[in-house]
């Protein structure tokens, strides 16, 4: 991991905020999986269980004006950014009340009010578009920043290399956040990647790059604070390679045969979510009662969103002719 000198540390409030976002992700995902198993949602689901520290800490530094471009394994990124859950659930249920009127689905959620600009199903494609949003921020004279989320596998596709080079040449306010969960779909990191650390690739593009413990809120906090500061002050992009582990395979139903039992068990034993909860209690940052109440309110929010989503109307077939172009295609 890359050490930062004079690294800012999260205070109690920051840790509580990061924990709240992590728990919101986990409680929401748990309900999605349970609803899929009951047969009430039909969608491919790409779990990010175990990776929550990354978007929770990134989002702690972002405001509503700041924007994200994320990928198919991206529900946690929008939940961390406080996207309201009702339009999210209606979308994954394919209902017209969904944020995309049921025309995008879980792999392609957009919610501009909270800065969720693009969720792409194509590996690597979050990055070139993030550059354009960041160029617009610069032209606007705004200090907003854009986060491009992607995985370790995406660092091997051309879009990554083109986007990092252009962002660096144009000094764009983008933060490239790579969740390195050690597997590109089913392929081990080292079997498909030419360097031992993706952060080293930043050197080739003349931008700061760091390998961060993506399961450690302090480390994520310190690096994200520096990256946001760099972006807001016009110094350009940063690449953060955030080391983590995916507990539930590439896609729901995947049996993880490409992982060893030992590495998976070790990662799950070090689950960052209960670890941060314990720390909040041990350090006197939050009481058991406070955390129980937080959990209860998040579960209620998720249950309400689920009920709202599943009760929604199916989109009318007229939607096939709408939003193709600005002007509706005549029947």
């Amino acid at each position: 991991m890359t050490e930062l000198s004079n690294a800012p540390k999260p205070d109690g409030e920051a840790l509580k905020d990061i924990y709240r976002r992590m728990l919101r992700i986990e409680r929401n995902e748990d309900e999605i999986l349970s609803t899929i198993r009951k047969g009430r949602l039909t969608m491919p689901y790409y779990s990010a269980r175990g990776q929550e520290v990354i978007p929770a800490t990134v989002s702690h530094f972002l405001n509503d004006e700041d924007q994200i471009c994320t990928i198919y394994r991206g529900v946690q990124d929008m939940v961390a950014k406080d996207m309201p859950l009702k339009p999210l659930w209606a979308e994954i249920a394919g209902r017209v009340e969904g944020t995309c009127k049921g025309k995008g689905g879980g792999m392609h959620i957009t919610h501009p009010e909270t800065g969720v600009m693009v969720t792409t199903g194509i590996v690597g494609s979050s990055m070139p578009i993030a550059n354009g949003l960041a160029w617009a921020a610069k032209l606007d004279g705004s200090d907003r920043v854009v986060v491009a989320y992607f995985g370790d596998g995406a660092s091997n596709i051309g879009a990554f290399h083109e986007a990092l080079n252009m962002a660096s040449v144009w000094k764009l306010p983008v933060i490239f956040v790579c969740a390195n969960n050690l597997f590109a779909e089913h392929t081990r990191y080292e079997d498909a990647t030419s360097v031992d650390q993706i952060s080293k690739r930043a050197i080739g593009y003349g931008m700061p790059g760091f390998t961060v413990d993506g399961n450690n809120p302090d480390d994520m906090y310190a690096h994200m604070a520096a990256a946001v500061e760099r972006a807001r002050s016009g110094e350009g992009p940063t690449l953060l390679e955030c080391m983590t582990f995916r507990f539930r395979g590439h896609v729901l139903g995947d049996d993880d045969k490409y992982m060893t039992k030992e590495e998976k068990e070790a990662a799950m034993a070090a689950d960052p979510l209960p670890a941060l909860r314990q720390r909040l209690v041990d350090d006197g940052i939050a009481t058991e009662e406070e955390l129980a109440s937080l959990q209860e309110s998040l579960e209620q929010e998720v249950a309400d969103a689920r009920d709202f989503g599943l009760a929604g109307e199916l989109p009318s077939e007229d939607e096939l002719r709408r939003d193709v172009f600005a002007e509706e295609i005549p029947a």
């Binding site: 471009c69 969904g98 944020t99 995309c100 009127k101 049921g102 025309k103 995008g104 392609h108 957009t110 919610h111 501009p112 600009m117 693009v118 792409t120 199903g121 194509i122 494609s125 990055m127 070139p128 578009i129 993030a130 550059n131 354009g132 949003l133 960041a134 160029w135 617009a136 921020a137 610069k138 032209l139 606007d140 854009v146 051309g158 879009a159 083109e162 986007a163 080079n165 252009m166 040449v169 144009w170 709408r322 939003d323 193709v324 172009f325 600005a326």
Partner: protein, 329 residues
């Protein structure tokens, strides 16, 4: 009467870009070599823009087609109107994910929450011995993609008017600059304003036969016109101008009148846009046709290098004359 200015296509596009950037500060221009420091574009199409409007709005880019399109898409989603140059149409292949999966689809996939009002300017065409990777007309690929409009002008005034419309259009537009239309000066009104997308232009009226064509093939149709007339055939020549969405109304009205249709394009004939037009005419006017619809297009091969092969690849004016005679029986 407005005054006329003699311009060729490249000057007309340049004039449109200058006008659009002066009228609307949301208009941006980006692409390889497009700023004045790099020569104002390899054909000079963007000359003068960076000097006049600054290098924040007129940006030369790395040779990175995916990154160019990504930058244009993101800026368009954030309220700008980028005109992205992909130097040659064959180079769009390198950026197809950005163009097809993102620029064309984001409005639909976001349920109308975002839109991508950008223009892709791209040059192409056989006749310059640039062979198989610098010459293809790929308008059919984009016309087959929902959510993107395809514009293929032939005349300088259309280049200017259609470019002004494309820039202000709320949807993505690919604007094809056909090499076979360059360097033929023509009158452009000094006050040339926007010409609506999706409207064909009847460049020659006639009663026996309808010829539908666009871009460089329109130029060749005009070259064929005197010989067709000499053969006693009254041909109506329609320059489609916009390939998608195409002006069915004008084409159907013309074929209803003439009863005969020849569709000619520079793109490869197999599965080309001519097939869509022919099929639509068959569906709509079956009983009114005096003969089968005829298509002319390139053979199913890459655009060849050798001059004689390249000449044979292109649908020449003589081929159009012969097809017109055949259609008349």
């Amino acid at each position: 009467m407005s005054e006329m200015e003699k311009m060729h296509a490249i000057q007309a596009i340049n004039s449109a870009l200058h006008q659009a950037m002066a009228e609307d500060d949301k208009v941006l221009v980006l692409g390889e070599d497009i700023a004045d420091k790099e020569g104002g574009g390899v054909t000079g199409t963007t000359a003068g823009l960076s000097t006049k409007f600054g290098t924040d709005r007129v940006k030369s880019t790395p040779i990175s087609e995916q990154a160019i399109m990504g930058a244009a898409i993101g800026a368009a989603m954030a309220g700008y109107k980028p005109v992205a140059e992909i130097m040659m149409m064959n180079f769009t292949t390198v950026a197809m994910d950005m163009i097809v999966n993102h620029a064309a689809k984001l409005r639909f996939m976001s349920g109308g929450q975002t839109n991508v009002p950008l223009v892709i300017r791209t040059m192409t065409g056989a006749g310059w011995q640039t062979a198989g990777q610098h010459s293809d007309f790929l308008e059919g690929w984009f016309a087959h993609t929902a959510g993107i409009k395809v514009v293929c002008p032939a005349f300088p005034a259309d280049y200017k008017g259609l470019m002004l419309s494309a820039i202000q259009d709320p949807d993505p537009v690919i604007f094809v600059e056909g090499g076979g239309t360059f360097f033929i000066p023509n009158d452009v009104p000094s006050d040339q304003g926007p010409i609506p997308l999706g409207k064909a232009n009847v460049v020659q009226e006639g009663t026996d036969l309808t010829i539908v064509t666009w871009s460089a093939q329109t130029v060749r149709a005009m070259m064929a016109a005197p010989a067709i007339a000499e053969a006693g055939i009254s041909a109506e020549i329609i320059d489609l101008r916009t390939v998608s969405p195409w002006d069915k109304e004008t084409v159907l009205a013309s074929v209803e009148k003439t009863g005969r249709l020849l569709v000619a394009h520079e793109a490869v004939r197999n599965f080309g846009p001519g097939a869509e037009i022919a099929a639509t005419v068959n569906e709509e006017l079956f009983g009114k046709l005096k003969g089968p619809v005829r298509r002319l297009g390139g053979p199913t091969c890459a655009v060849p290098f050798a001059k004689n092969l390249e000449t044979a690849f292109i649908v020449q004016p003589d081929d159009m004359v012969a097809a017109a005679k055949e259609l008349m029986g």
